[in-house]
């Protein structure tokens, strides 16, 4: 009867679960950060006007 080496099986599946779970969490966190970032930007802030330094003295 061949030895089963359950420890190796558990290690392989365990590492896979941790790696896939970590990547999934990373994506969810990044998504959350972008949503929060978007909610902090006031409406119309996406198109900034000319910088004060670039204006002519007549303005």
């Amino acid at each position: 009867m061949t030895a089963d080496h359950w420890g190796f099986v558990l290690a392989a599946y365990g590492i896979a679960a941790v790696a896939l779970g970590a990547y999934w969490r990373h994506l969810c966190r990044r998504e959350q950060e972008l949503t929060e970032q978007r909610s902090h930007i006031p409406p119309g802030a996406g198109h900034p006007g000319p910088k004060p330094a670039s204006r002519s003295p007549l303005q």
Binding site: A3, F8, I15, A16, L34
Partner: protein
Amino acid sequence: MRGEQTVSRALGWLAAIGLAGGLVMAFAVAPREITQGNVQRIMYLHVPTVLVAYLAFAVVLVASIAYLWRRDPAADRLAHASAEVGVLFTGLTICAGAIWGKPTWGTWWTWDARLTSVAILFVMYLGYLLLRGMIEERERAARYAAVLGIVAALDIPLVHFSVYWWRTLHQPPSLLKPGPATMSQGILAALLVNIVAFALLYVYFVAKRTAVLRREEEALA
């Protein structure tokens, strides 16, 4: 946006159900292999991850060609996301293979043609991701990465056929070969369920990563 989130959530649930089904098939339905014993159950992780990695890098190839042809940022985002997920799956393949190799071959690693060509594949796509990160100008990064994405894909057939072209310790493929599969029905069914489950997980990850990349670009614009 809401529709996109609903699709992503549905894909996530499908992948989770698929993976749960895959685990049941691998541990409760598939029979114990006669020569290797239960350690052979690592195959239900090792083979699907490498097949999905092939798929991921094939998507990188197609999306890179599409980007160079049309200069469509969506194609570039797809290539980027697919390469990232492909690297993750290749890393898991190497890891699971090493863990399976120790009790069956007596070694974690050997510089055999199959293992070496997979390691080269992993390093090349890791380089692809590093290249993208190193170049600040978006269009230039996309162009260089697309060229690398096409060149790196040449290693995929090399990995697959390495077991035929060179003398290796690694066994020849049980799937993706001419003729019927050389395994029992129970083992084949468990393997196919896991392949579908990991393919669903790949689609879910790529969809999520592509959406994140698009939103990052919008935030920078």
